[in-house]
């Protein structure tokens, strides 16, 4: 094993990134000829093996390695392609691989028979390429490129069923909201570049980097840069108020939701903030923590009222991402990364289980020739009898989500909540609101995931006029990946000690030093509160949803607000979308009638002027000429009469003239 490690981890990690790209290109060329997805599967399998065996093993707990290659030069500044392998990046890369692999296997049967499946594999490989590239980028510019590319792949996959109106609305929304974040990222890059002249992560944030030499971080521009990068992370990691795209993104295939919109891409924001953590000053960190708390709380609330099984999970994802943001904001980005990793496993599993359920419901719908929404939990019920394995796996994942002891979620969530308490007790005062709210969110989490399980798997199947014998567990190609993820939802994968997160390998590997003291009592009290809270929540859920003693009116204002996601979409439509379109209309009107109107007016003015001058020319100038000519002519015409050729007349004229002459002489 040792001599294998002599192979450069850098080139291996590049190979990990390039394999899915190759799969993308091959699939693009093969097109409809290849529908099995074997190319993508081989690529991601190889990537996973290499990433685990040659990159993660070689770099984890060893000093970071990096490589830089010149890319292009602008003026006298050279931009580079660089690859950075430290504990954070190899962990992220490995996790992406290890989540993507089961999803690929699962997709083989989940997406079977879809007419556009060749595109599916193409897009999926493109996504893997971009996401894996993102994890090991050494400079911000390169990171930004992959950052946008994952968004692009996500756009393609959300709109995979492009004939569905809702899907194409959703992918447009996702891309545009993410664009807002991307602009933040770009502005952040611009600030860093014009302040420090470099975008290299090692030069900036490394051990001997600019930031470790104690520069003044409390300037306005540094705060601006922090907020700009956070804006990027907010959009990608669906933080309030930019989270609105994620619930809609559930229009994509469920396997896509599990990989991109639950486990990996949406966590990229947390990863970014962890990578550039030294950049943030106190102000920015506080903003991050507050935003994270608001996100966690609001989304947990929205998740309570949803009926679409995927939307419940989507809001749950947003809420958990909020937890991770809080962890970054309080300076415990190692805890954030730990939660990112455990969350990736159990949330991906939740989605895959939901996918299996939806798959069966859709089959039932096709068999029964009936119109109903296969994703609506109100149409389910009692499924545990028909799909026991799916139920068992989903229950484990739900326990992990709720942070129940013996699961991985227990470890990582405790790490965040307890550290948040320690942080708040260090700062005192209003800061304590944040950990209190985190505990509330945790109890809400237990309730909404319990509600999902109770509604879907307990009680009686609600569409009783359908033949339930068609319902059965997912095929093995779907179950095995789910089982694999299920193992990742249990504590021993991350720490041999099921009760304390302190022994978790990931936390030790990332080893962040907190500026506040540890409070030992909390390590006992907080888990007890969380566990008891969850148990009470489940007891209530059991009574309400299984026993049927539901005390609330579904038309209740709060329930409606939760179902309609706080009416945020409507508010955005009214305040941003509509006015922008109105402004566009107005500026087009302005363009047509004012700007172009002015042009046409000046053309008209010139034309009128020229017809005026033409009139002047014809009737005044030429009129003068013509009247001179006319006068002459008329005079001539008058005098012509004299020259009439009659001798008598001539004599008469001569006589008259002589007579006049004589008279003149006499009178004088």
């Amino acid at each position: 094993m040792r001599d294998l490690l002599t192979i450069s981890p850098i080139s291996m990690s590049i190979l990990v990134v390039l394999l899915p790209l190759a799969a993308f290109v091959i699939q693009a060329i093969l097109g409809k000829k290849s529908t099995s997805g074997i190319v993508s599967l081989i690529a991601i399998t190889a990537s996973t093996l290499i990433s685990g065996g040659f990159v993660f093993m070689a770099v984890w707990d060893n000093p970071p390695v990096s490589a830089t290659y010149d890319w292009f030069t602008i003026g006298d500044k050279t931009f580079t392609l660089g690859f950075l392998l430290n504990n954070l990046s190899v962990l992220m890369q490995f996790i992406v691989c290890i989540i993507a692999l089961p999803v690929h296997i699962y997709s083989r049967s989940y997406m079977k028979g879809d007419p556009g499946i060749h595109r599916y594999w193409m897009y999926l490989s493109l996504f893997c390429f971009a996401m894996l590239g993102l994890t090991i980028s050494k400079n911000l510019f390169m990171l930004y490129i992959f950052w946008e590319l994952v968004g692009f792949a996500s756009y393609l996959l959300i709109g995979f069923w492009f004939t569905r109106e809702a899907a194409v609305q959703a992918n447009k929304k996702a891309f545009l909201v993410n664009r807002i974040g991307d602009l933040g990222f770009l502005i952040g890059i611009a600030i860093i570049f014009s302040t420090f002249g470099t975008l290299d992560l090692v030069d900036l944030f490394g051990k001997e980097g600019i930031f470790s030499q104690g520069i003044d971080k409390n300037t306005g521009w540094m705060t601006g840069a922090g907020i700009a990068f956070f804006l990027g992370a907010m959009a990608k990691s669906a933080q309030f108020p930019l989270h609105v795209w994620l619930p809609d993104a559930m229009e994509g295939p469920t396997s896509v939701s599990s990989l991109i919109h639950a486990a990996t891409m949406v966590a990229a924001g947390v990863f970014l903030l962890s990578s550039i953590f030294p950049l943030f000053n106190e102000t920015v960190l506080l903003i991050i923590a507050i935003t994270g708390t608001i996100t966690a709380l609001s989304s947990a609330f929205f998740a309570l009222g949803q009926y679409d099984i995927k939307k419940i999970l989507a809001f749950s994802t947003i809420s958990q991402l909020g937890y991770m943001m809080v962890a970054v904001g309080i300076g415990a980005w190692d805890a954030a990364m730990f939660h990112l990793v455990t969350h990736a496993f159990f949330k991906c599993l939740l989605f895959l289980c939901a996918g299996a359920v939806i798959h069966e419901m859709a089959h039932l719908k096709a068999h029964g020739n009936q119109e109903f929404d296969p994703q609506d939990v109100r149409n389910m019920g009692g499924l545990r009898r028909y799909m026991p394995k799916t139920f068992a796996l989903m229950a484990i994942a739900s326990l992990a989500l709720a942070g129940f002891p013996l699961t991985s979620g227990y470890l990582s969530k405790d790490a965040i909540v307890i550290t948040a308490w320690e942080w708040a007790m260090h700062h005192e005062g209003l800061y304590l609101i944040i950990p209190i709210l985190l505990i509330v969110v945790s109890i809400l989490t237990a309730f909404y995931i319990g509600r999902l399980i109770f509604k879907a798997f307990f009680g009686e199947f609600r569409l009783n006029d359908l033949d339930v014998t068609h319902l059965h567990d997912a095929p093995r190609t779907m179950l095995i990946p789910m089982l694999f993820l299920g193992i990742g939802a249990v504590f021993f994968v991350f720490s041999w000690n099921p009760l304390s997160y302190a022994d978790a390998g990931i936390l030790q590997g990332l080893s962040v030093e907190y500026p506040f003291a540890e409070a030992h009592a909390l390590h006992v009290i907080v888990p007890i509160i969380l566990t008891c809270g969850s148990l009470i929540a489940w007891w209530i859920g059991w009574r309400w949803y299984v026993k049927g003693s539901y005390p609330l009116n579904p038309q209740n204002r709060w329930i409606q607000a939760s179902l309609n996601q706080g009416y945020l979409d409507e508010v955005y439509h009214k305040t941003f979308v509509k006015p922008t379109l109105k402004l566009a209309q107005a500026s087009y009107w302005f363009d047509q009638y004012i700007v172009d109107g002015l042009v046409n007016f000046s053309a008209k003015a010139v034309r009128s002027l020229s017809s005026l001058s033409s009139w002047v020319d014809r009737y005044i100038v030429d009129g003068l000429v013509n009247s001179v000519a006319g006068t002459t002519y008329y005079t001539g015409h008058l005098l012509r009469w004299i020259q009439n050729g009659r001798l008598q007349n001539y004599l008469g004229f001569a006589f008259t003239i002589v007579l006049i002459g004589i008279i003149y002489l006499i009178i004088r």
Binding site: F141, T163, V168, Q169, L183, L186, S194, L581, Y588, D591
Partner: protein
Amino acid sequence: MGLLSLLIFLPLVATAIILLLPTSLRNSYKYIALVFTGAQFALAGYLYSQFDAAATGVNTRAGYQFVEQLSWIRMDLGTLGKLEIDYFLGVDGFSLPLLALSAFVMLMAIGASWNTTKSLKGYFSLLMILNLAVMGIFCALDFFLFYVFYEVMLLPLYFLIGIWGGARREYASIKFFIYTLFGSVFMLLVIVGLYFSVINPDTGAHTFNMLHMMNPANYVENSFFGYINNYHEIFGIPARRIGFIVLFFAFAIKVPIVPLHTWLPDAHVEAPTPVSIILAGILLKVGGYGIIRICLSIFPDAAVDANWWLGLIGIISIIYGALNALAQKDLKRLIAYSSVSHMGFVLLGIASLTAEGISGAMFQMISHGFLSAALFFLVGVIYDRVHDRYIYNFRGLASLMPKFTAYLAIAFFASLGLPGFSAFIGEAFVIIGTFNAESVGTGIPRWMAIAGSLGILLSAAYLLWTLQRMFFGETRLKGGEEWASALVDLNRREQLILFPALALALLLGIMPSLIFDNLNSSVLNLVALVAQYI
């Protein structure tokens, strides 16, 4: 005869042949045009590969390559001195990429003209004359020669739009012609003014040589545009500033900037597809090139004073153009307004007067050159088939024309600045350069960079919205079955035209050094030239 002359006058040979051949051979005209343009493209490619990237260009003769200088007109004007007009050609890092771009876009335009049937003789000979003129513009280093090419360019375009165009072609062609002429007439005044202010240090005669105009030492003391002891004013504005403004105005019409842009949507919409391609791909770049080569290089002092306003105009063009594009219901008009928006980035980058900004602006011009050409070609494909391009008359085209949709989606994403494609590099570095301007001290505030980035968001909005409205969803066409059978997918010729353009967009997005390597030393030289006056 030098290579540049060959490049410029090859189309003239083609014109002569086309004019001499009898009309019975009219089907061969397009092949003649294709062969000659292909030869030009090969030649431009050869020049590009032979270019020495270290050449600094801009203001010294030694900085240019493939230089040709012949005395053209010499006249003794008595007390006014000697008239000295040269046939003076050369290329540097600014002009060479545009030259290669022009040859490329011309090839696309010839390909797009393949099915033209109306008076072929006139059409192809005019196209070749246009080709000659644009090549000449990018090579000319004598202002008089530049002006000649600049004006020659208008004539074929006028007829190409006016005869081969759409329903309102006469209105559009007249508007285009007069608008552009309006700018260039005043330019002539400045050219004459410069002529009387500048002296060729070798012969002592007044000269039209642009390189001499870039050297302050060549200006006659107390002359109209002179540097030293210049108290000339018009309406209280110093003469050099007036000169800058007038020249900028002339080129800005071409770019075009808001509010001098309204000729563009009309000309684009009415022009036949190949002419739209040339208009967007090459003509607009003449404006940007003129601002760099002439406004900035000959009037660097005035440029430094005015760049705040240039930046502001750039931002207004970006946002206003994008908003207008958002409001369009005609696909071609939408693309036309998006050109206004994207060219605003060019102006913003130039105004930043930083190496990143100017490089970004140049890159954006190249990128927009073939991307807008591809976009207009794509619009032409639909229009050819059903003679309609009203966005709401189409829906769900993706199911009907999958290949076409794939190409169009790639072109759309490339234009909205997806990384990996060329427009991203251009726009990103315009933004970064503009942002950096405050650190360098060129007087462009940082909010302009942030405002400019709004345009990136809006461009995503109008392009994705179009994609959603026209291409996705269930198929539903205004023309019903008749349209559905008419809307066949791309044929091989169309793919042959589109593929290289999009491949180039991808290639330049991944390897921007293909442009930057030849561009860098010229940009640095220009920035240094301007920096003296900051």
